[in-house]
C-alpha cells in the first residue's frame, strides 16, 4: 500500500528582486519586481508503507521543499498530493498524529530543561497512556543507551546526544512515517553510525516508513535500498541505491594522515589530489583502484586513513549527462 502519492507535484516560489543600493531600495517601495523559481517541478513519487527511502540531491535541489510539502508545512503550487490519505496542508491533527519530522538543525527540545521534560510534553501532546509512554521511552532509551542522560539539561548535551534525543522525542508516539532531514549533519563518524543503526532497527522492528534526506552518501548507501535523486526540482533517478552506486559512482575519496611526511608516495592513474600537506593527503581515485591504493598507503605507516563516498554533485552530474544523451 502506498503511503505517499505525489503526481505532477510543483512548488513555485516568488522571490522579491531588489535593485542594488539606496536608490533601488527607495524605488522598490512602490514598484516591486518578482521572479518565479520552481523549487519542485512536476514530480511524481510513490512510497510504500515500511520503506526506507533516501532523497538525495545537491544544495537547492528541492529535497527540503519536498519534505515540507509532505508534512504540510507548505502548500504545493499545483499537482496532487496524498500522504497517509490526507492532503498535508490541511494540517489536520489526525494526520499530524501519524507522522514525525526531524530537521537536523531545528530542535523540538527545550534547551534549559531535560529530555525527560520534553518527553512528558510530547506524551500529553500525542495523548499517550502512561503504560505506552513508559514502554516506548524504555525501548528507545535502551536502544540508544542514553538512560543516564535523560535528566541532564539538554543544552549541556553533545550534538550527537542531542540528535538521539530528537529522534526519541519524534518516535515517542510511534509514527507511521518519519521524515528526516540531514539527521547526521555535523556528527562525528561514531555518532553517525549509531544513528544509522538506530534508524535501521526502527524501520525493521516498528515498520516505520522513513524518508531520509541527506547530503551524505554514506547515510543513503548504508540505510536506503531505494533512493530518489533530485536536481533543480526534478526527479532524475528513482530506483535501487545499489544500482545507482554501481552505475554512477566512479570514484572514492581517500584521506590519509601521516606521523612523518611520506617519501616516494605514488598515486594510481586517474587519481586527483584534493588537498596535500606534508602530513596529510586527500585525493580521489577510481573505485577499482581503492584496494591497491590502500595497500600502497599502508606501507607508509599512516596515522589514519578514511575512505568516503564520492560527493553527491558528481553523481548527479553523471545522471544528468546520461539523461541528456538518452
Amino acid at each position: 500500500m502506498n503511503i505517499i502519492e505525489a503526481k505532477n507535484l510543483t512548488k513555485t516560489y516568488r522571490r522579491f528582486l531588489k535593485p542594488e543600493g539606496l536608490r533601488g531600495s527607495i524605488k522598490s517601495l512602490w514598484r516591486r519586481e518578482y521572479i518565479q523559481k520552481d523549487a519542485v517541478s512536476s514530480l511524481n513519487l510513490s512510497v510504500a508503507e515500511g520503506e526506507l527511502i533516501g532523497l538525495i540531491g545537491p544544495n537547492g535541489a528541492g529535497k527540503t521543499t519536498l519534505t515540507k510539502m509532505f508534512t504540510g508545512i507548505i502548500a504545493p503550487t499545483s499537482g496532487e498530493l496524498s500522504v497517509l490519505g490526507y492532503y498535508p496542508n490541511d494540517l489536520k491533527n489526525e494526520f499530524k498524529q501519524q507522522y514525525a519530522v526531524v530537521m537536523g538543525q531545528k530542535s523540538q527540545l527545550f534547551f534549559e530543561l531535560t529530555a525527560n521534560d520534553t518527553l512528558h510534553l510530547f506524551k500529553e501532546i500525542y495523548g499517550l497512556s502512561e503504560s505506552t509512554f513508559r514502554e516506548t521511552k524504555d525501548y528507545f532509551t535502551n536502544l540508544f543507551q542514553v538512560r543516564h542522560l535523560m535528566d541532564v539539561q539538554v543544552r549541556t548535551l553533545s550534538l550527537g546526544e542531542r540528535m538521539k534525543m530528537e529522534l526519541i522525542v519524534a518516535l515517542l508516539h510511534n509514527p507511521r512515517i518519519l521524515f528526516l532531514d540531514e539527521p547526521t549533519i555535523g556528527l562525528d563518524a561514531i555518532a553517525s553510525r549509531q544513528i544509522r543503526t538506530f534508524l535501521r532497527q526502527v524501520n525493521r522492528e516498528r515498520g516505520t516508513t522513513i524518508l531520509l534526506t541527506s547530503h551524505y552518501m554514506e547515510d543513503i548507501k548504508a540505510l536506503c535500498p531505494r533512493c530518489v535523486v533530485i536536481n533543480h526540482g526534478k526527479k532524475i533517478y528513482d530506483g535501487s541505491t545499489e544500482t545507482l552506486f554501481e552505475n554512477y559512482q566512479q570514484n572514492k575519496r581517500i584521506s590519509a594522515t601521516f606521523p612523518q611526511p611520506p617519501t616516494d608516495l605514488s598515486l594510481p592513474d586517474g587519481a586527483q589530489i584534493i588537498e596535500q600537506t606534508p602530513y596529510k593527503l586527500v585525493f580521489q581515485t577510481p573505485k577499482e583502484s581503492v584496494a591497491s591504493v590502500l595497500t600502497d598507503l599502508m606501507q607508509h605507516n599512516p596515522a589514519d586513513i578514511s575512505v568516503e563516498e564520492e560527493e553527491i554533485g558528481a553523481l548527479v552530474e553523471r545522471i544528468y549527462e546520461e539523461n541528456k544523451t538518452v
Binding site: 523540538q108 530543561l113 510511534n174
Partner: protein, 274 residues
C-alpha cells in the same frame, strides 16, 4: 503496526505546555530574583512618591493614601502579568526565519499553544510578584483597600483572565500578519500607542470628552488592567458586567479573525531557512 490515535482529553496537552514553560522560567533562577526585586522597588518608589503627595492633603481624586497604594500595587501587579508583547515578535520572527514549522507539525491548535505558553510564564510571575507584594504590604503596614464583595472579586478575576487572553490573541494575530505584510512594526506601534492612550498613560482619561470616553470603553484595552484594578479596590462596580461582556465579544471576534487570517494566508508560508 497500527498508530496510536487516542481520544485525547482536550486540555491536558495545553496544561502540559503551560507547565513546561513554567519550568523553563524556573530554570533561570537569577531572573526570578531580579523579578522579585523589581516588584519590590516599584512598590517602594510608589510608597515614597505618594507619601510625599499625601503629606499635603488627605485625598487625591477621592483616593486616600492607602487606597492609592492599593490601586497602584494591584494595577502594576496586573501590568506585570501582561507579558504577551513578546508573542507578536516571536510569531513574526519564526514566520520569517522558518521555525514556525515547529508548531505546524504538532497536533495542537497553534494559538492555543501560544496561549498555554503565556499562561506558563504568567503563572511564574504571578507567584513571585504576589509574594513580593504581600511582603511589602506587611512591611509598610499598608491598610490594603480591597473589595469585600465575592461577586466583584469573581468578576475582576474573570476580567483579568479574559483580558490576558485577549492580549495574547491580539499579539498572536499581529504576528500572524507577517504572512501577508512581512514587516509588522507599524501595526505593533499602533497597538502600543492605542493601549497607552486608552489606559491613560499618554493623556489622563479625565481630560477626554465624555463621548470619546464612551467610545474608548467599547474597546477592550480599558478592561485589561484599569477596570479590574478599580473593581478590586472597590470602585466602578456598575461597569463589571459590561466589561466582561465586551471582553468576551472581543475575544470571540479576534478568535474568528485569527482563524480566517490563518486559513487565507498560511499558503504564503514558505518555511524559509529550513
Amino acid at each position: 503496526m497500527k498508530p496510536f490515535i487516542p481520544k485525547n482529553p482536550r486540555f491536558r496537552k495545553y496544561r502540559e505546555i503551560s507547565a513546561i514553560y513554567l519550568k523553563s522560567q524556573l530554570a533561570w533562577r537569577a531572573d526570578a530574583v531580579f523579578q522579585m526585586l523589581f516588584t519590590v522597588t516599584k512598590i517602594l518608589f510608589a510608597y515614597l512618591l505618594w507619601g510625599m503627595v499625601f503629606s499635603q492633603r488627605d485625598t487625591v481624586s477621592g483616593f486616600t493614601l492607602d487606597g492609592m497604594l492599593s490601586y497602584y500595587i494591584i494595577s502594576s501587579f496586573l501590568s506585570q502579568l501582561e507579558l504577551s508583547d513578546g508573542v507578536s515578535g516571536e510569531v513574526s520572527e519564526r514566520i520569517r526565519n522558518g521555525t514556525f514549522s515547529k508548531y505546524m507539525v504538532l497536533p495542537v491548535n497553534i494559538p492555543g499553544y501560544f496561549t498555554a505558553m503565556e499562561a506558563g510564564c504568567v503563572l511564574f510571575y504571578l507567584g513571585f510578584d504576589l509574594a513580593a507584594a504581600l511582603i511589602w504590604i506587611f512591611i509598610f503596614r499598608i491598610r490594603f483597600v480591597f473589595t469585600h464583595s465575592p461577586l466583584i472579586i469573581l468578576c475582576a478575576l474573570l476580567m483579568i483572565i479574559l483580558g490576558l487572553l485577549f492580549m495574547v490573541q491580539l499579539n498572536y494575530y499581529l504576528g500572524l500578519l507577517t504572512l501577508k505584510y512581512e514587516e509588522i512594526g507599524t501595526f505593533l506601534m499602533i497597538k502600543s500607542n492605542l493601549v497607552a492612550l486608552i489606559t491613560g498613560s499618554i493623556v489622563p482619561l479625565a481630560l477626554f470628552p465624555e463621548a470619546v470616553l464612551r467610545g474608548m470603553k467599547l474597546l477592550p484595552f480599558y478592561y485589561i488592567t484599569y477596570l479590574p484594578s478599580m473593581l478590586l479596590t472597590g470602585r466602578c462596580r456598575e461597569e463589571a458586567v459590561t466589561g466582561i461582556l465586551i471582553l468576551c465579544l472581543w475575544c470571540l471576534a479576534l478568535g474568528g479573525l485569527i482563524r480566517i487570517t490563518w486559513k487565507k494566508y498560511r499558503v504564503k508560508y514558505d518555511g524559509a531557512g529550513i
